[in-house]
């Protein structure tokens, strides 16, 4: 028996002693209830972020505990969103932590019917090889008038509106230097 639980801590006794005869107030609170603390207060740190959904750019506060995200809610400091979030922004924690989220590299071989596992390092190497091969296969030095083209039509890319500016910058920089011009994203949709 827990030494802390004494006769005096029985709810019935507390009820009588505190005057809460109908047992509806503090006398019926459990220890868990009395010690309740919101995880927004007990977090190890809070980080300011921005909602990843639409283009309003609502401020978000990300609460971290034991190196896991435990809460994402609106940032009251934002002059645009003033701490508010729509249902999607409010679901951001689930976006990050959902068990359905993919966390492993997967590979489907030509004519395959299933996914297979693949090491990230191997995947990077394979992608590099294919990039170079397709770049070469689709390369065009000049057009029919002899004007320089210096490009490849063998590679294309789609996406960028959900990525950071820094990421879009490296993507455009790299693809352009590689001669790949068929780069597009949601802006043209």
């Amino acid at each position: 028996m827990d030494a802390r639980r004494t006769f005096l801590s029985w709810p019935v006794v507390r009820q009588v002693r505190s005057g809460d005869l109908l047992g509806r107030g503090p006398s019926v609170t459990s220890q868990k209830t009395r010690e309740i603390e919101p995880r927004t207060s007990s977090a190890d740190r809070v980080v300011q972020s921005v909602c990843p959904y639409c283009a309003v750019g609502c401020g978000q506060r990300v609460f971290v505990k034991d190196e896991r995200v435990v809460q994402i809610e609106g940032d009251p400091d934002s002059p645009i969103s003033r701490g508010r979030l729509c249902p999607k922004g409010s679901a951001s924690e689930q976006l990050v932590n959902s068990p359905g989220r993919q966390r492993k590299v997967l590979y489907r071989r030509a004519r395959g019917t299933q996914w297979e596992s693949l090491e990230l390092e191997t995947a990077m190497q394979m992608i590099t090889d294919r990039f170079l091969a397709s770049r070469r296969a689709g390369w065009q030095d000049r057009d029919e008038h002899g004007r320089p083209l210096r490009r490849t039509m063998g590679i294309a890319s789609l996406g960028g509106a959900t990525l950071d500016n820094e990421e879009n910058y490296l993507i455009k920089k790299l693809f352009t230097a590689a001669g790949a011009i068929q780069i597009e994203n949601q802006a043209r949709i």
């Binding site: 107030g25 919101p38 927004t40 508010r84 979030l85 729509c86 249902p87």
Partner: protein, 348 residues
């Protein structure tokens, strides 16, 4: 007996009644449905904060944009959608005008002189209504007809309302709970302690609004089998934070604060809407003399409560307790008397 009388009806401070010494000012919600955009951020923010599981099957209900159906153990904020055409809108206006004429009591601080805030928000009759005695229902009906002919009764409107536990002043769920799982907090709110509740279900039958329920699911579901409802974010408000739904609501349709403030803001807003030509606006839950002593969540509605799926005259089901015990007591005494008489009389 003053204390006892206050436990089942009439205005009172429920935290004090529950023996909190020097409790905080009572906290509550004011949900202004006139600015709700039906986005359901409240539903999601609440579920996310409280780790509430999926509610039922993933089915389109065919009920406008409402696919959650109603409040329950796994939906603590529920947005209702009601589509209405001009006939119904006129009726709502007329019934609203009648309410004003009946002189429904305002609650909280008296509302300031409610001139229209800024320019009118569009309806042409506003200048005509200024200075007019809205409490004349015949005139209000005539105005509604005139407004329609002027094209100002819209052909259509879409009402949206984020419903939530009322945190009643006289809370039936709290009254009938046999285990003390349900308790009244220092903020005047009603909270289920999930580590105490045994899932008996008495509270489910007791609630006049049909809010509290036991959660479905097997052992993989958190708190399956026990009663669950809105806690008014007891953990958050105890640390000076805002309830999840109120924080998320993009338009501040959901407001949180001291209940007295919430009530007076509700009344102000109703007055503003009235002077802008919307007599159908009314406060729900703000009357401390109603069957639950007024609620901790007041609403501004634009039609009759039944339209929103709310009971028009909710009453705490334990209100009849004294009467029932009296009757039961008489019945028991009568039975005892007859039993005694049977034995005494029968002695030869």
């Amino acid at each position: 007996m003053g204390f006892w009388r206050n436990q089942l009806a009439g205005p009172t401070d429920p935290s004090r009644d529950a023996a909190w010494d020097d409790p905080e000012p009572r906290k509550g919600f004011f949900t202004d449905t006139s600015i709700c955009i039906g986005c359901k951020a409240c539903e999601v923010a609440c579920k996310e904060w409280n780790a509430i599981p999926q509610d039922g099957e993933l089915n389109l209900l065919g009920s406008s944009y409402d696919n959650t159906g109603s409040l329950g153990a796994s939906t603590w904020r529920h947005v209702a959608f009601i589509e209405q055409t001009s006939d119904r809108i006129e009726q709502a206006r007329e019934s609203g005008s009648r309410l004003v004429q009946l002189g429904m009591p305002s609650v909280g601080a008296p509302a300031p002189a409610s001139a229209a805030v800024g320019a009118t928000s569009g309806a042409a009759p506003a200048p005509a209504l200024a200075g007019v005695n809205l409490s004349d229902p015949d005139f209000a009906a005539a105005q509604a007809t005139a407004a329609r002919e002027l094209g100002s009764v819209p052909d259509f409107r879409w009402l949206m309302d984020s419903d939530v536990c009322k945190h009643c002043t006289h809370a039936a769920c709290l009254d009938v709970c046999p285990t003390g799982a349900l308790f009244r907090t220092e903020f005047g709110t009603v909270v289920v302690q999930d580590d105490v509740c045994n899932g008996c279900g008495y509270c489910v039958a007791a609630c006049p609004f049909g809010v509290i329920e036991r959660r479905d699911g097997d052992e993989t579901v958190k708190n399956a089998g026990i009663a669950q409802k809105c806690t008014l974010c007891y953990d958050r408000i105890g640390h000076d934070q805002t309830p999840a739904c109120a924080q998320a609501c993009p338009t501040t349709s959901i407001k949180f604060g001291d209940l007295a403030d919430m009530q007076s803001q509700a009344q102000e807003r109703v007055d503003t809407l009235h002077s802008n030509g919307f007599p159908e606006a009314r406060v729900y839950g703000g009357n401390q003399h109603d069957g639950v002593g007024g609620t901790g969540s007041v609403f501004l509605l634009l039609d009759e409560p039944e339209v929103y799926g709310l009971p028009p005259d909710p009453r705490v089901t334990t209100a009849d307790l004294p009467d029932m015990f009296r009757k039961a007591g008489f019945a028991a005494a009568a039975m005892l008397a007859m039993a005694v008489a049977a034995f005494v009389g029968g002695r030869k």
